[in-house]
Amino acid sequence: MPLPLEGVRVVDLTIVVAGPTATSALADLGAEVIKIEHVNARTTGGARSLPLPPGVEADRPYNRAPGFHELNRGKKAIALNLNRPEAQQAFLGLVRTSDVVIENFSPRVMPNFGFTYEALSAIAPGLIMVSMPALGSTGPYATRTGFGPGIDAMSGLAHLTGFPDGPPVKPGNILCDFNAGMLAAYAVMTALYARSQTGEGQHIELAMREGETLLIGEYLVDATMNGRSPMRDGNRHPSMAPHNVYPCREEDTWVTIAVGSDEEWARLQAAMDDPAWARDTRYDGALGRWQHQEELDRHIAQWTRTQTPYAVMERLQAAGVTSGAVLNARDIAQDPHYTARGFQQVVSSPETGPFKLVRPGYVLSKSPAVLHAGPGFAEHNDYVFRGLLGMSDDEVAQMEKVKATSRRPIQLERV
C-alpha cells in the first residue's frame, strides 16, 4: 500500500530523543529518512548503547538495543565524521538530493560547519530545514544547555504537576522530547504541504521549551486575566468530585474515578450497592461533593481497596460511571483493547531477530503505518555513497581511510 510521504527524502542529523521522535514519525509515514551518525556511534545521544534484552550476546551490541530501534524505526543510516572535509562534501551531496534537513544540536553547531539554511538552500532549492534547539537560537538563554527534564522545569509544566503539599513533578518520561518531536513532525509536513502549493522551502525553528509551554496556555491566560499564580493540584478537578485515584487490593495498584454530574453520582452510589454513608445529604449537588471531597475519597477508597483495578473499572463503566484502571506497561501489553487495535507490532532486523515496537496514537485508514526496525550502524553507506552520490570504490575507500566514514564504530584520536 502506498504511504503518504513516499518520495520525500529526509536528512536526519538529530540526536537524543526529540529529533529522532520526529524523524521516526516521518519514516512511519513513508519518508526515506537517512540518519547521519558519528563514526564513533556515540553522538546519537547514547541510543546505540541503551540496554540490551536479557541473555543477548554482545556481538555488535550497538545494532541491537530495542530503545535504539524504538527511536529510529524505519530509517536508513550512514556514518560520517563531519569534521573531515570529505564527509562534509558527502553531507552536502546528500542534501542536494533531499527535501528536508532536520537537526537538534545546540544552536552554534550548524553555523560552525557553515551549514546554515542560506548555504544549504543555495545548493538545494526548495529545501525545508528544521532546527530544534532547547530554548531557541536567539535570546539571553541561547547558549544554555538543556535536557528534557530541565525543560519540563522551565516550561512551567513541572510546577503545575504533583500535589500541592509536595514537590513539583516532571510528568512521565521526558514529555518535553516526545512533544517537541511530534510538533516537529507536524511542522515538517505543514512546510511540505506549503511547498506543494508554492514551490518554496523554508527554515523552521522549534524551541523545545516553547513547544511545551504551549501545553499549559490556559494557565497563562488565567494568570494574566486574574492576576494569580496557578498551583498544582494533584488529581483533583476544579469542579468535579469525586475525582481521584484510589488504592486497590494489591500493592501499588490503583483505579481512577471521576464524577461529573448528579446523575453520575447516583449511578456510582448504585454501583457501590448504595452504602449508607453515601446518602449523606452533604453530598447532594456538585458543590457539596466538591467541598467534602476528602472524606468522600476516604469512603470510596474503603470500597476500592478490596478489589482489583479492572474489577472496579468494569463495574463502574457498566454502570455509566467514568473510571479507568491505572495500568502499567505489563498490564497494557496484555490488555485486550490495546491488543485488538494492533498497538504493538512485531518487527525484525538481521541482528536482532523479531521484537516488538509500538506505533503512535493515530491510524490512517487508507495508508496505515507499517513499523520497521531501525538501521544497523552504517548499514546504508553503500546505498548513499555509491548509489545516491555515485562515488567510486576508490572514493569510498579513501573516505574510510581518512576516517570520514566507517563501517563499524571507531574511536577517533583526540585532536
Partner: protein
C-alpha cells in the same frame, strides 16, 4: 505571507478539548477553521473555568480563549434535520473535519466516516477519542484522568511513596490533538498524490502510551518502569547523577550532571565529598546521599542564582518556573514568544504564541471567536442563504 495551510477548510466539532487543540494547530498554520457549536450554549469548553474574575461566561473561559485562537465560530445543531443538512453542505466543501465527539455520538448523528466519505471523497476526517474508533473500550466513558490512568502515563508520574498523579491541566487531550494533527498532515500529503481523503483514527490513550517509552522497554527488556520521582527511570547504580529537582532557598531547581565531571560539581556545591571515588563510581547508586550533600549549598541561593552559577560551570541546571515567572521569562520576552491577545469581552490576555517559527509561513494568532460570530459570513456569504432565511432557523434552534 500566507500561512502554510492557507485555503484549507477545516470543520471542528468538539465536546472535549482534544479537537480544539488540534484545530488550534491547524488554524495557527493558516487553515480556515470553523468551529461548529451547539446554539445558545456553545461547545462544552466554553463552560470550563477559570473565567475572568471567576464569573462564568461563555466568552471568558481561559481554556476557550487559549484553544480557539485564529478560528471562526458558527452555531448549528446537527441533531436537527435542517442542521444536519446544513452541516453536510459544509462537509461537501471541507478539506478536513476534526472532532472529539464520542464514537457513539458520531454514529448516532450519522457523522461516521463511511457516511461522510459518500458526500466528499476528498474529505480527511480525524475523529479523536480516548480509546479510538474500534476495540472493546471504544464506548467507555472517559476524561483526562482516565486517559492518564489507562495509558500507563500516570503509573510512572510522581513519587514512589505516594499515589500516581496525572500531568497538569489537559495535556493528555492536547497530545491526542497534536498527534491527530500529525496524522491529518500525513493524510493531506497522501491526498496530494492520490486524490482521496481518508479517516485518521486517533486514540488519546495510545498517543500518551507511545510517549511513555515504557511499553517497548517492558516488551523487550522485561523491565516495568515505576515512579521514580523526578529522577531518570534507569536505576542502574553506575548511571550518571544528579538529574532531579532539588529545593533551593526560594523554590526548586532541576539539578543535572555535566558529562561525568564530579570535580566541577563538588566545586559548584562547595562540597568535596561529591567527588569521592565511591560516588564517582556509582553516582545513581548514591542518589540519596548526593541529594543530601547538595542541599546545604542550594539552600543559600535563590533559583536564578543557583542556575546562573551552575551554568557558568557548564552544568545544565534550570529553574522550576511558576506561571508568573514563565510570563516574565527573559528568554520568552526576547523571542516574543508570549503574545498579548485582545478580546472584546475578556479584554487583553497573554498566552503562548507560535509553537515554532516557520520563517516562510508565519503563524496566525487572532482572538477566539464569539459564539456564532461568523454565522452570517458562513451561511450567507459562503453558502448563499439570505438573512431572512436564517431568522427562522435561529428561532427553531437549528443555528
Amino acid at each position: 505571507m500566507a500561512g502554510a495551510l492557507a485555503n484549507l477548510r477545516v470543520l471542528e466539532l468538539s465536546q472535549f478539548l482534544a479537537a480544539p487543540f488540534c484545530g488550534k494547530l491547524l488554524a495557527g498554520a493558516g487553515a480556515d477553521v470553523i468551529k461548529v457549536e451547539p446554539p445558545a450554549t456553545g461547545e462544552p469548553s466554553r463552560a470550563m473555568g477559570p473565567f475572568k474574575d471567576d464569573l462564568p461566561h461563555p466568552e471568558t473561559g481561559a481554556a476557550h480563549l487559549f484553544l480557539n485562537t485564529g478560528k471562526r465560530s458558527i452555531t448549528l445543531d446537527p441533531s436537527t434535520e435542517r442542521g444536519r443538512a446544513l452541516l453536510l453542505r459544509l462537509v461537501e466543501r471541507a478539506d478536513i473535519l476534526v472532532t472529539d465527539y464520542t464514537p457513539q455520538r458520531l454514529t448516532n448523528l450519522g457523522l461516521d466516516y463511511a457516511s461522510l466519505e459518500q458526500i466528499n471523497s476528498r474529505l480527511i476526517m480525524a475523529p479523536i477519542s480516548f480509546f479510538g474508533q474500534t476495540g472493546p473500550y471504544r464506548d467507555f466513558q472517559a476524561s483526562e484522568l482516565t486517559g492518564f490512568a489507562m495509558s500507563g502515563y500516570m503509573y510512572i508520574t510522581g513519587h514512589p511513596d505516594r499515589e500516581p498523579v496525572k500531568a497538569a491541566g489537559n495535556i493528555g487531550q492536547y497530545e491526542g490533538g497534536l498527534q491527530a494533527a500529525v496524522g491529518i498532515m500525513g493524510a493531506l500529503l497522501y491526498r496530494n498524490t492520490h486524490g482521496v481523503g481518508q479517516m485518521v483514527d486517533v486514540s488519546i490513550t495510545e498517543a500518551l502510551c507511545f510517549m511513555t517509552g515504557s511499553l517497548v522497554t517492558w516488551l523487550n527488556l522485561g523491565e516495568v518502569f515505576k515512579r521514580v520521582g523526578n529522577r531518570l527511570p534507569s536505576t542502574n547504580p553506575r548511571a550518571l547523577y544528579p538529574s532531579t529537582f532539588l529545593p533551593c532557598k526560594d523554590g526548586w531547581v532541576h539539578a543535572h550532571h555535566a558529562p561525568a565531571d564530579f570535580t566541577l560539581l563538588a566545586m559548584l556545591m562547595e562540597e568535596p565529598r561529591l567527588a569521592d571515588p565511591e560516588i564517582v563510581a556509582e553516582p545513581r547508586g548514591h542518589a540519596d546521599l548526593m541529594d543530601e550533600l547538595c542541599l546545604p549549598w542550594l539552600s543559600r541561593y535563590d533559583k536564578f542564582e543557583v542556575v546562573e552559577r551552575a551554568q557558568e560551570l557548564r552544568h545544565p541546571f534550570t529553574e522550576v518556573l511558576d506561571i508568573p515567572e514563565v510570563l516574565q521569562d527573559p528568554q520568552h520576552l526576547a523571542r516574543n514568544y508570549i503574545v498579548e491577545v485582545d478580546h472584546p469581552v475578556a479584554g487583553p490576555t497573554r498566552m503562548p504564541g507560535a509553537p515554532f517559527q516557520a520563517k516562510g509561513t508565519p503563524w496566525r494568532m487572532a482572538r477566539a471567536p464569539l459564539l456564532g460570530e461568523h454565522n452570517e459570513a458562513v451561511y450567507c456569504h459562503e453558502l448563499g442563504y439570505s438573512r431572512e432565511e436564517l431568522a427562522p432557523l435561529r428561532e427553531r434552534g437549528v443555528i
